[in-house]
């Protein structure tokens, strides 16, 4: 066994992973090498679908079925001993001891990765007790503590809730808590903050940093957020098409990138820090404003299955208008009710109170909240939703072709060969290879699945798209291209967007107006540029201040202000 430098805890050498598919062998990862050092962070960035998650999973030997490690070594240091993880049998005891204890993994898709039938707390407690000798009570205390550390409000109560009662970001944080529960020496975080608002994200990154300093934890951070990379990385590796194309200290990557792809990434990042050029007039504010296409009035949703005392106002008296051709961004704290708001508009969650008015193609106004089943179906044809959790929203038993083609079929728009062509075209449009048409959703990378969701939303002629974190799993380069695509479509079809996102830069680039949500309420609504540069409300200010800066020489997150909410209403 080759000797490793002392500070290296994990060394991946020439790792190659193949997927044996029906038609061919896919070399998802080829000859990848990198090293993780004590207390340091290696950021793995790269194109969506380039093999980052597969690499991460291979470290724990949990790659999905047809995937196999076909070459290379994964050397893990254990004191002075060194084990080759790649040579261990996946179900072996030795492997089990590494999982969770030595290497903790935060899955890319926290939404689907948690058990639907166990409480969040119990799943974390299980991880705690597995790797420590704490008794039940102590384990619970530790679990609550962990949840608190990841900024879950009322952790004591929330621990006893189920996955589906958590918002996307909350699930992600629960996932982080679970990965941290075993006090791992190495943390592999696969896009751990995609569903988190910048403030929470900052807190989490801080937490991890602290652990790194205290316990010398090494971290492999996979992310698309170049800002985050700049803030936390020590080293950066850039992946594309299964290869690491460039690797080096963070500063070198940002300021002296050599590989064209790296440069393209950074360029896209910069592009996204400004509002899109040649933007449309903000129609809402012009005097000859057309009638809004969608009006939301006093919309509220109360979740209350835990007894009266425990009801939660997920959305609290929301009011806004959406104009034709407008992009309305919604930002806000994780768990503040953004997803719920989107679902209320579509009535996949029934509002507790309030109305939603929609102006149809013929100009007539429809009260969505009163629609019957059939009219609702027509409404859904005009207003499309991109789900926050792409994996859960794709039927695991339908091939991608069926998934994207389904809206076309049910609305009688295409069938047979035409359907196939149309699906292929949609896939190409969002940057997916039509060759994957026959694959099932689970055989895609996170970002690819997200794009499948987008393709599905575009399949019909929508008038409004409610996009819930629609680009969070995409690398900046593709993200900017997708956003441009959407803008282009908007222009041609006079499409409106409700664009829910945590990524302030994306909001700024893409949206005309922005609504800021906090604890179910819309606290501020204004022009995007203004909100992003000169926020009025305290919460918005703190939010903006926490946006990471994609420049390792200017780490802005450290200067952020923390918003302390007034006593819970």
């Amino acid at each position: 066994m080759t000797a490793l430098p002392d500070e290296v805890v994990l060394s991946v050498e020439d790792l190659s992973i193949d997927f044996r598919l029906r038609t061919h062998i896919l070399h998802a990862v080829e000859n990848v090498s990198f090293q993780l050092k004590r207390g340091q962070t290696l950021c793995l960035v790269g194109e969506s679908g380039s093999g980052k998650s597969v690499t991460a999973r291979s470290l724990l030997q949990i790659i999905d079925k047809p995937g196999t490690i076909v070459g290379g070594r994964i050397l893990l240091r254990n004191g002075n001993e060194i084990t080759d993880v790649a040579s261990l049998a996946p179900g072996s005891r030795a492997m089990r001891e590494i999982r969770g204890r030595r290497i903790g993994l935060i899955f890319q898709e926290p939404m689907s990765s948690l058990s639907p039938v166990h409480t969040i707390g119990s799943q974390i407690i299980e991880a705690i007790r597995l790797h420590s000798s704490l008794d039940k009570k102590a384990a619970r205390e530790r679990m609550v503590e962990l949840l608190r550390q990841v900024e879950i409000p009322n952790p004591d109560q929330m621990a006893d809730r189920y996955t589906f009662e958590f918002s996307g970001g909350m699930r992600q944080r629960a996932m982080i808590a679970m990965a941290l529960a075993g006090n791992p020496d190495i943390l592999i975080a696969d896009e751990p903050t995609t569903a988190l608002d910048v403030t929470t994200q900052a807190e989490i990154l801080d937490l991890i940093k602290r652990l790194q300093v205290e316990r010398g934890m090494a971290m492999l951070l996979i992310t698309h957020d170049m800002g985050v990379v700049a803030e936390v990385a020590d080293d950066v590796a850039v992946m594309r098409f299964g290869h690491i194309v460039e690797r080096g200290p963070v500063d070198a990557i940002y300021h002296a990138a050599t590989h064209p792809y790296t440069r393209q990434l950074l360029a896209s990042t910069v592009k996204l820090t400004h509002h899109v050029e040649g933007k449309l007039a903000v129609v809402a504010l012009s005097p000859e404003a057309p009638l809004p296409i969608l009006s939301v009035r006093h919309l509220s949703k109360t979740f209350g299955w835990h007894g009266k005392a425990n009801t939660l106002r997920a959305v609290d008296d929301a009011n806004f208008d959406l104009y034709p051709g407008e992009n309305l961004g919604i930002v806000g704290e994780s768990g503040s009710g953004k997803t719920t708001l989107g679902r209320l508009i579509l009535r996949t969650v029934e509002p507790t109170t309030g109305t939603v008015l929609y102006r149809g193609k013929d100009g007539s106004e429809i009260e969505v909240t009163k629609l019957g089943k059939k009219e609702l179906r027509n409404f859904h044809r005009d207003v499309r939703l991109v789900f926050q959790d792409p994996f859960a929203s794709l039927n695991p038993r339908m091939t991608v072709k069926d998934v994207i083609g389904d809206p076309l079929i049910v609305n009688g728009l295409a069938k047979g060969k035409a359907l196939e062509d149309r699906v292929a075209e949609l896939m190409r449009l969002v940057g997916l290879d039509p060759m994957g048409m026959e694959r099932y959703p689970h055989a895609f990378s996170g970002g690819q699945r997200q794009r499948i969701g987008i393709a599905r939303a575009l399949a019909l002629d929508p008038r409004i798209i409610i996009a819930d974190e629609a680009t969070s799993a995409l690398d900046v380069s593709i993200r900017s291209q997708i956003l441009d695509l959407l803008l282009d479509i908007r222009q041609r079809l006079n499409l409106s967007f409700i664009f829910i996102s945590h990524d302030i830069s994306v909001v700024r680039y893409f949206c005309d107006r922005v609504a800021v949500m906090h604890r179910g309420k819309i606290v501020e609504l204004g022009e995007a540029e203004q909100i992003c540069t000169a926020p009025q409300e305290a919460y918005t200010k703190s939010l903006i201040s926490a946006v990471p800066n994609p420049d390792p020489r200017d780490k802005r997150m450290l200067h952020r202000q923390r918003f302390v909410a007034p006593a819970n209403a």
């Binding site: 639907p116 039938v117 994996f391 689970h442």
Partner: protein, 328 residues
């Protein structure tokens, strides 16, 4: 939750009345009545029966009354005095007959249920986890033999083997020499020696179903991301499987729990008949065939009530097992 249970219990009353009415009606569907079947048995042994006397008996026992009168009388007896009527065939109050058989019925049914679960659960899991392994195929093969060979024949064959090669007294739960003896170690041993045949037979047909269904449902769950999450925590494989996918794969079983209770009482009738088990199944069977209507009716009422309770339990368990159901 409590409100839900309360509502369900309220629903039960009309359902039960409806069920008892329907079953009472169905019990009377076959031509003739208890007396006809009595005459049938008698003439079978070579006796002739006087028709005039039959008429008289019909009158005395109220077989002449219209259906609803008979029903109301019976119901009134139950409600007012807890009297479930009289069994013509056994010349005994129905309730005494039913209770007399309950003990052994429950013991045997519970034991075999337990047996089925203890055997089938691990095998089902094994079969799902090691799909298409030799073990999986072997279990499938034997399971289906148990299912495809009628219980009756299986019972006869096993009893023949027990007789031929083990020299064991067959049928029933005790050898004749222990039938009157007080419980002792030897009697327990004898009892256990008699128990294996019924349990194997009941198990043979029951386990296959359980194994296959568990295998089917579990296979679907095994690849779900949350299972991989559990694995990534470092949980041992059996815990991963037991805690996560198995729990979800149990959904169909929990749905079917509604039938476990009535099944405990009336299950495996034919096996019990062949094996001479003193359980309630054969009693019910005879009551139905010989049109001993109050006995049959009471049995069915009991079974209906158990079905209702079972279904309620099943729904509650379903919600307990899967919170997504609870909150919908």
């Amino acid at each position: 939750m409590l409100a839900y249970i309360f509502r369900r219990v309220l629903y039960m009353i009309p359902t039960l009345i409806g069920m008892s009415l329907i079953s009472f009606l169905i019990i009377q569907l076959p031509p003739g009545d208890y007396l006809t079947s009595m005459i049938a048995t008698m003439s079978d042994s070579g006796q002739a029966v006087d028709p005039a006397q039959i008429e008289r008996l019909k009158e005395i026992y109220g077989f002449d009354d219209p259906f609803y009168i008979q029903y109301l009388k019976w119901m009134w007896g139950i409600v007012s005095r807890g009297d479930f009527g009289w069994s013509f065939e056994w010349n005994q109050p129905v309730s005494r007959l039913i209770w007399a058989r309950m003990g052994s019925t429950l013991v045997i049914s519970l034991l075999s249920l337990l047996f089925v679960w203890i055997v089938a659960l691990p095998i089902g899991i094994y079969s799902a986890v090691r799909r298409h392994s030799v073990g999986d195929h072997v279990f499938t093969f034997f399971g289906f033999i148990g299912l495809a060979v009628p219980n009756f024949i299986l019972a006869l064959t096993l009893m023949y083997i027990a007789y031929r090669y083990l020299g064991q007294s067959v049928g029933g739960l005790n050898s004749p020499e222990y039938a009157e003896a007080p419980w002792s170690l030897a009697k327990v041993v004898d009892f256990l020696a008699h128990l294996w045949i019924p349990i194997i037979i009941i198990g043979a047909s029951g386990t296959a179903a359980l194994i296959r269904i568990l295998r089917a449902n579990l296979t679907d769950e095994l690849h779900k991301p949350y299972v991989i999450t559990a694995r990534a925590k470092g949980l041992p494989e059996y815990k991963v499987i037991m805690r996560y996918p198995v729990r979800i794969a149990l959904n169909p079983f929990v749905s079917a729990i509604g039938w476990v209770l009535p099944h405990l009482v009336s299950g495996v009738t034919i096996t019990a008949i062949v094996l001479n088990l003193p359980t309630a199944g054969p009693l019910l069977f005879r009551a139905l065939v010989s049109q001993d209507m109050y006995l049959a009716g009471s049995f069915i009422l009991l079974l209906s009530a158990l079905t209702l309770v079972g279904m309620l339990l099943s729904d509650l368990l379903l919600a307990l097992l899967d919170p997504r159901i609870r909150f919908n």
